[in-house]
Amino acid sequence: MANALDLKRQPGFASVAMICCFVLYAPIAVLVLFSFNANRSVTRWTEFSLDWYVRALANEGIQHAALISIEVALAATVFGTAIATAGALATTRIRRSRGTNIAYTVINMPLMVPEIVTAIATLSFFALLRTGLGISFGLGNLMIAHTVFCIPFAYLPIRARLENMDLTLEQAAADLYATPWRTFRRVTLPLMLPGIIAGAMLAFIVSLDDVIITLLVAGPGETTLPLYILGQIRRGVTPEVNAVSTILLAVSILFVTLFFFLGRRQRS
């Protein structure tokens, strides 16, 4: 009976799954393929070459954009993960009440609100700060914006980890006269570390990929890689953009894979 309801045993499961995978990944495969094209076309194959990688890596605009992307992603990861860790501890290590649910919803709000709404709200907020109080943090504005939307992405894996953790270990530490700080340092933190690392990597990749919020918040000289690629479209895309996208994709895959393995270790 259970077998009859198993999704994997439904007729056509394999073919539907294959079609879905093809539709999702074939365009990406084409993009990667043409980054190795000798010709300047992104649609007509001539022969294999690494020229576009050489050119992309030598392009000052791309270098600068990559540096900005990494600076912003690092800052957002560090601060976003720190806040998310504190938030996860607070929402799992206190007695549940109605407030816990509200806190949970507030933390995850950026996931539900359409990105364009967050983007315009963030831009108006910084514009108000500047015109009203004369405060502007330069690239810091972008870092703050990214930190905010990275928090829920970092929060979810950390919270999941904390919820699966055995509370008795912490109680045992307290029984043995460990101070709360010592308990945290020697018991809680090491146990939740895989969750923190997974959350940090997710935050990093989400920050690196973001377009809409960055587009509106970025100030002069703050073009990130995705914005740089977007700006090229009107004037014709060269395989240089494919090469950069492929590098970005490789970084993303690396992080997602690490995330996956950390997640597996956590469960076993």
């Binding site: 300047r40 076309s41 649609t43 605009g61 800052a75 560090v78 703050e222 700006g231």
Partner: protein, 343 residues
């Protein structure tokens, strides 16, 4: 954990310091992506000891949305003709009076009294071009200088056409084909237009901005296009010909303007004057492949550009038409026609 934080903070701080400018002044340019000649910028930086940053946008509307929403720090934007008029009317541009600048004498007479900036109080020419279409003459070698290619195509071109995904470019081409005026609010004429577009749509393969890729991939044989893009596509398809339809076609100009809240107004003015120098204007054209509107710049331009049929219009071609922004009523009517076409 604490050590991790300090290391990260130090790293971020270091990267910040490395990014700091050491030149005397700064200039922040917000231009279309991949549209600014790096050589031009290098020359300007050296000449005036100014550190320049360049950021890119993908449409006039993206730029306007961002500036209107309060993005600050940019000195220079490069809006298209109609967008200059909109930005002036919204009070976003600084009146820098380029007509009083030293190099203004080099601007071709026809670009001095333009509808979007009469007498050039705000903006100077960056580049100008036309929006028409290109045809692969290896596929169709008949007369291409007519909009019938797009709206009533010969048998071999049916289903082989890409149109720009742009409401104004498509509607204006349709109105020209029917012989009706632009910024049209005549319901009967718009109905006729709507029927024309709907019947032509079956012959259109795609509606997309990536015209060069569409043509060079062989996905289509005709594409509505900008002249510079058509020239670049011709390098890969030598038989591609840019049409000058007798019913008329659109002309456009991108212009360098200074924002009202620019932090470096003086450097921005220097830049406006700088690009009206023929030698510098030629650098712009050699990079982005459009004409620049500065007299005498052709001496410094790539020979293949000054001879290109996409740049040099034949004598019998009609003058390009610069279409001002239409009023709200027209925009609403156009939106209806467009939505109907796209569904």
């Amino acid at each position: 954990m604490t050590r991790l934080f300090t290391t990260a903070a130090a790293l971020v701080g270091l990267a910040f310091a490395a990014g700091q400018a050491f030149a005397a002044g700064e200039l922040h340019i917000y231009n279309w992506g991949n549209y600014t000649s790096p050589e031009l910028i290098e020359k300007f930086e050296k000449a005036h000891d100014v550190k320049v940053t360049i950021d890119g946008y993908d449409s006039n509307e993206t730029m306007l949305a961002k500036i209107k929403a309060g993005a600050a720090g940019y000195d220079i934007v490069v809006p298209g003709d109609y967008m200059v008029q909109i930005m002036v009317s919204e009070g976003l541009l600084a009146e820098t009076n380029p007509s009083a600048m030293a190099n203004y004498k080099n601007v071709e007479a026809r670009w001095k009294d333009v509808y979007w900036d009469p007498g050039r109080k705000y903006s100077v020419p960056w580049q100008w071009g036309t929006t028409s279409f290109g045809v692969n003459t290896a596929v169709y070698d008949g007369d291409i200088d007519t909009l019938a290619i797009l709206f009533d195509p010969p048998e071999v071109l049916k289903g082989r056409i890409n149109m720009l995904n742009d409401i104004n470019d498509v509607i204006n081409a349709g109105l020209r084909y029917l012989g009706h005026p632009r910024c049209n609010k005549d319901k009967a004429q718009l109905k006729e237009l709507s029927q024309l577009l709907l019947s032509a749509k079956q012959h259109w393969r795609t509606m997309d901005y990536s015209t060069i890729e569409k043509l060079t991939s062989g996905d289509v044989d005709v594409s509505q296009n900008w002249n510079g893009a058509s020239m670049r596509a011709r390098k890969q398809i030598p038989t591609l010909k840019y049409a000058y339809p007798r019913e008329g076609f659109t002309g456009w100009m991108d212009n360098v303007a200074v924002l009202k809240n620019a932090p470096n107004t003086e450097n921005a003015k220097l830049f406006q004057d700088f690009i009206m120098d023929p030698e510098n204007a030629a650098l712009i054209s050699n990079f982005a492949r459009y004409a620049n509107g500065v007299a005498g710049s052709d001496k410094f331009m790539d020979p293949e550009m000054t001879a290109a049929p996409e740049i040099i219009m034949p004598a019998n071609a009609p003058a390009p038409e610069f279409v001002p922004p239409c009023d709200k009523e027209v925009v609403d009517l156009y939106n209806k026609v467009w939505t109907n076409l796209k569904k």
